[in-house]
Amino acid sequence: MALHFELVTPAKLVRSEDVHMVVVPGAEGEFGVLEGHAPFLSTIRDGAVQVYKTEGGAPETIEVRGGFAEVGDKGLTVLAEHVEG
């Protein structure tokens, strides 16, 4: 039971790992993605992506600016123009 999560910027592939859940700041509100999520495409606003490695664990936050998130068969892909830090 793991969600494959990828965070990509134009400069490099920042993350590619299996996690429990990711909360993405969508343009129309935050949404959490677990494994088996329905295919979904959304633009994102500037904000923090929260990555929950394990169920109930503390989230790791990554600041992103501009981009969109895609949920497909292969998991969640966040394409961001800038990633802080």
């Binding site: 134009p10 400069a11 129309e28 969109f68 123009e81």
Partner: protein
């Protein structure tokens, strides 16, 4: 015949030139590796983006498509975005890019279109100015940053899209070198605006119904400028790799030529030294015999 001192001077001067070209070659080799790694790292983003673009563009078509995708409806005014390097010492790279740009411009003008240029990088300015001095719209300077990154691509794309929205041109082409190897960099002309429908696997999400938030058109509208940016970013990375590759090859040749020249001059130097010694000996012997 040149005197010994002159020959010695020439040998030394060629030797120091060789030192410079050799150093530049090694610097280029090191930078090439970095540039290639950067180009490689940018690939996942571009691939994903064009995948999403392909699946969206297939869904949104017809009148509701944004202007960046369907164009202004005419194709009278063309803009050539020419990506050149900022520094020289890279063989025929810039000459080839300019040649490709001029060929495209001639072709478009022959078809009765208006052509203007948008130049990125320093080295394309002079040769294009010679032929099309009054058609140059803008120089975009990338020489102040050490390695052009996404910020530069973003600035260029924003500027281009603003011009497009204002209706300054109908079609934009991107002329840039594609890095094949250190020996070959092919100048390429690609259409940039209106964005050509990307080919590729349209069904990235399988057959399942994909939900869109906000809506398909809104997302596409956001996506297209990003796509243009990514294209430009890719061309900047290709340019970087091409520049270093071409520079490495050119400097390798220069170093080898300098080596040949040094060898030739050294032989000449030794010959004339030998000749001078022989003459001196003959003089001494002749003098001794006369006594």
């Amino acid at each position: 015949m040149a005197s010994l001192k002159e020959l010695k001077g020439r040998i030394n001067s060629v030797k120091s030139t060789q030192k410079i070209t050799k150093a530049k070659q090694m610097v280029a080799a090191a930078k090439l590796r970095r540039a290639q790694a950067a180009a490689e790292a940018a690939r996942p983003y571009a691939e994903r983006l064009s995948g999403v673009m392909a699946s969206l563009a297939a869904k949104v078509s017809g009148d509701s498509a944004p202007r960046l995708l369907k164009g202004t409806g005419s194709d009278k005014r063309h803009l050539l975005v020419v990506v050149n390097t900022d520094k020289g010492l890279c063989g025929g790279l810039n000459a080839n890019i300019v040649k490709a740009a001029k060929a495209k411009a001639r072709e478009l003008i022959a078809d009765g279109k208006d052509v203007s240029f948008y130049l990125v990088g320093k080295k394309g300015r002079a040769p294009i100015k010679r032929d099309y001095a009054n058609r140059i719209e803008k120089h975009f300077d990338t020489s102040e940053v050490r390695t052009p990154g996404f910020e530069e691509a973003e600035a260029i794309a924003d500027d281009l899209i603003e011009r497009f929205e204002k209706g300054e041109f109908d079609v934009a082409h991107l002329v840039y070198p594609i890095f094949k190897s250190a020996l070959a960099q092919d100048p390429t002309v690609d259409q940039l605006i209106p964005v050509p429908s990307p080919e590729g696997d349209a069904g990235t999400a399988g057959d399942a119904v994909v939900e869109y938030e906000p809506g398909e058109e809104e997302i596409l509208e956001e996506l297209l400028p990003r796509y243009v940016k990514t294209q430009l970013f890719g061309s900047l990375l290709e340019r970087e790799a091409s520049e270093q590759g071409a520079s490495m090859t050119a400097m390798d040749n220069a170093t080898r030529n300098a080596g040949d020249l040094i060898q030739k001059l050294t032989i000449q130097y030794n010959r004339s030294r030998q000749a001078a010694i022989t003459t001196e000996l003959i003089e001494i012997i002749a003098g001794a015999e006369a006594l």
